[in-house]
Amino acid sequence: MNDISTTLNEYIANEILKQPGRVINPDEPLISGGIIDSFHLVDLALFVEDTFGVHIDDSELNADTFDTLNQLVALIQARKP
């Protein structure tokens, strides 16, 4: 687990799932698996922007852009300033 992954895991566990301490499998489908519902996608995008300075456009908030924690980490690393 790298820092980005840990930070995201904590945010999703605490703020979205309200299950502090919950470990998210990095290859678990978050969007298509129903862990993050559509109402929380915008929260996640705002969090990523505030924390990592990476903008995810609202048109990208779907399972095609990223679905798992690993995919989201890769996306952030690729776009990091």
Binding site: K18, G33, G34, D37, V42, A45, D58, S59
Partner: protein, 560 residues
Amino acid sequence: MTTFSHLLRRFYEETPDRVAVYLQHAGQEDLPVTYRDLLKGAAGYARTYARAGVQPGDVVLLILQHGIDLIYSYFGAVLHGAIPAIMPYLTEKLLPERYRSDLASLLGITRPAAIITYPDFEQEVRAALKEGDSVRAVIVSSEADQPADPDFESLPGMQRRAEDIVLLQHSSGTTGLQKGVALSHQAVINQLESYRLALHLTDEDVVVSWLPLYHDMGLIACYLLPILLGVPLVLLSPFDWVRAPYRLMQAVSRYGGTLSWLPNFAYNFCAQKVRDRDLDGIDLSSWRAISNCSEPMRWESHQAFYERFKDYGLRYEALTTCYAMAENVFAVTQGGIDAPVVVDEIDREGLQIERVARPGIPDRDVIKMLSAGRPISSVRVRVLNEKSQDVPDRVIGELALQSDCMLTGYYNRPDATKKAFLDGWYLTGDFGYMADGEVYVTGRKKDLIIVGGKNVYPQDIEQLAMDVPGIHPGRVVCFGVYNEAAGTEDVVVVGEVETRDLQERYKIADQVRQVVTRGSAIALRHVYLVDPPWLIKTSSGKTARLANRDKYLAEMKEQR
């Protein structure tokens, strides 16, 4: 005598160049659809239905997403004299098998003659069909006839009678899809007429909406009302809005929007999730009525919305209220148009224990109730006690109503229709009270959770959760808990499990979440696994859910 087709014909002949709908899609130019475009597109579909053997009076099921095909195929059905019903599209969360079984049960009851969908969804639809069912044609949108000039003399829709059923309206979920509210031309037109008066609708009005059309608030207030009354409609996709709520404000600002309808959660959602940079140059001063409707209305949500957007021209008086239901076509009451919404401060304990809405007393907990307003002109409201007797002002009872815009019945469900009425009064299943002619809604008799304006039947969720290995068969309960920050209810599942191993429990909880989400498209907020015996069992599902909910809340409080 007037029907939908007559109203549409008038626009086509008198104001063909007027824009009926500005259709928005993220990342695309807005598409203005004039009445000429609308009627020509609809006429193409009417011809398609005729070709497919659909008869006037048949039901056609539309499985389409936000877009021009949905609009054309809907009004095409009307022009053909067929009865359109919209089924929500499959989302990525929902299991295809689950969707198929919901579709199959809808088909069994509603018995549509045709289904309209996209080419790449055709296989999915066909998979739900069975030998000997009612569906004679699956029509894909790409094969519909090109738009063509409507020939009103020959269109069967022009021959429909005012009392004929014009559309069906389903609620969501396995249970909701089995009860289609059937509405006549006359009922819808009566509703539009009295609602028009209540809203003081004028030529200056512009409706802006992101609501899905399979929901009554989206279909009636934000689709049929503007289109059939000649008010321009700016229609966003619900999918785009939930990812970028600022699009609603941008649309209002750009088109001078005056009217919108929102479920309560959307006030919180917009207030919390719109950034300043997306509001650059936004002017919301044209907005004159944003009606809170379809889930319990909260004073706090109005405040949050107002505080967030007042610097962008939002007026406090624009925050209005409405109480509505598909069985009455739409609005029962409307508040905030002629005078500001009344805020009734009542004693919390009085409401919860004695079931009366007593004005608040200093130093005691009060609840700020938002009035839903007064009944619109075609509707009469009564408040009844358990013996079906009228109760005085400020006493809580079940709301019952009578109007000239009631449903014809639940389609092919005479049993359910009969149960809904008492001596000609429709029993809403909602609890509330009246005070000075204003209606206040306090809760539900029906066992229903409303999440973000969407109806969730707890028994559907329990059924799904029960199938998860490790959960005691039959030892599951589902209920809603109000979430102050979100402005809507969270869905909670409590289940009894044998294992005490924490990792095992995490696994079971995950499984429950997944099974429920994929089986109902509802995301659970909390899966609470407990040692048996924990659940309180009673003879009625509803009292059991309430009792278990209280127990859950008490334990949560202790754990905090």
